[in-house]
Symmetry: C2
Subunit: 264 residues, 2 copies
């Protein structure tokens, strides 16, 4: 029997208490619609929506918001032509879009981190999973070697690194998305005796400035920022694999966007 | 007569109403201490503090917080060795440190934006100053040309750009620091008919994703992220020039840090 949108969402959220104030929602879309195909993506960008239509999918599962806002505020977009063209495309397409953010981060382990660790083949190094970070104990590598490995495995063209590239790393913390803030990251260095933290994104005047000072004091601590999308897209790719095995009768595709920034 | 710390701070804040909940403060330091020399900086990093001591300055004027936090939260740093070494250096040095953030952003025009515009020699192109952005009308340039000009004038090794580098720009918005958020930036494109926004830093899933969609729709809109420090350091450099002319008897130095990230 062909599953409905509601059936997919029930499967995705099964066993997880509704997160307080969750941003996760099906909009647009009806729970009763039968699924023709699914596209998962970091962000339901204009490109991703066009790809979903071309692939004959009628459900997009997106990690980040469709309209450039975590809380889906739109009042400042009502007269914006980019917004209007995208909203019209969605409305005319009959696509359902499910924002799948908070529930996925509450998987055990976090579904986004798990996808990243699998893409890196680093599950074998996990010492512990904390609610917002995974702690790894790895064979010693220099930061420069870690950076090259990350770029190769994740197929990303560049990374931002703070601290010395020659720092030797065995104890590594990984945090995805916007978890790179000072309050989240800095205490981990001491609590977990970390040499390196790999994060998605965070304020530049917090953790990076701490690492700058640590390095200037001669301490072996370093930070790699993957980029927000680069840290979370592998989790949405892994989600497509999971859905494929849970619903083998359905076509499920992960659609990857180009990096949002280029370095000039 | 040698001015005191209090005299400098009175000059810096003259005519500006105390900003609500301001983070600006002299800590450590006494208003009555006589100034031997001043260092201005984007951030009072370990390197900047050492330079101030080497230069014989006893007052650092820093734009961002000393301990990796806008609100100066420190409870999570108490056992951190990087924090302790830096705090001990400051305590033993006799340095005063004045955080000068909110007042400077309330200058007319914003003192940080004014420094950036001067460094770019772009004051002549200003159409209007808004509270958090300046709007420029410039001779038409491609984004790639603007990027090269920014790198050369500001002596920065790289920029992050979204949208097409061949976009032609005449109407340009400039926002410094962490003003790159979607709610702040996106409405400016329509309200001010902008082709390009140059900002410091902001969440990657907001404005950059908007620009990605705009470019994919074939619209000529682009975004350049300078980096938080890169966008605000010129304002602190210009502040050193102002102080030098206001207090010609005092040695005043701007100390520039290396970029906090390198691209790998």
């Amino acid at each position: 029997m062909t599953p409905t949108f509601g059936c997919i969402i029930d499967k995705l959220t099964a066993g997880i208490a509704r997160p307080d104030g969750t941003v996760d929602k099906l909009e647009p879309g009806c729970l009763e619609t039968k699924v023709q195909g699914i596209v998962t993506a970091f962000s339901a960008s204009q490109y991703v929506i066009e790809q979903a239509i071309a692939l004959g999918a009628n459900l997009i599962i997106t990690h980040e918001g469709v309209f450039f806002s975590h809380q889906d505020h739109r009042e400042w977009l009502m007269h914006d032509p980019v917004y209007k063209q995208k909203a019209d495309l969605i409305a005319g397409s009959g696509l359902g879009i499910y924002r799948f953010h908070d529930y996925l981060h509450r998987y055990t382990p976090d579904g986004i981190i798990e996808g990243l660790l699998r893409a890196l083949d680093w599950q074998k190094y996990v010492s512990s999973h904390q609610p917002s970070a995974s702690i790894l104990t790895m064979p010693a590598m220099k930061v420069a070697e870690v950076a090259e490995y990350l770029k190769r495995q994740l197929q990303i063209p560049y990374l931002r690194a703070a601290g010395s590239l020659s720092t030797s790393c065995r104890r590594v913390g990984i945090l995805v998305g916007y978890r790179g803030s000072g309050a989240t990251v800095i205490p981990l260095f001491e609590q977990e005796s970390l040499d390196l933290i790999i994060a998605g994104e965070g304020p530049e005047w917090e953790t990076p400035e701490y690492i700058r000072d640590a390095a200037h004091q001669g301490r072996e601590k370093a930070l790699i920022m993957l980029g927000h999308a680069e840290s979370e897209a592998p989790g949405m790719s892994y989600l497509a694999e999971r859905l494929s095995s849970q619903f083998p009768q359905l076509p499920v595709h992960f659609v990857k966007d180009q990096p949002v920034f280029q370095i000039v």
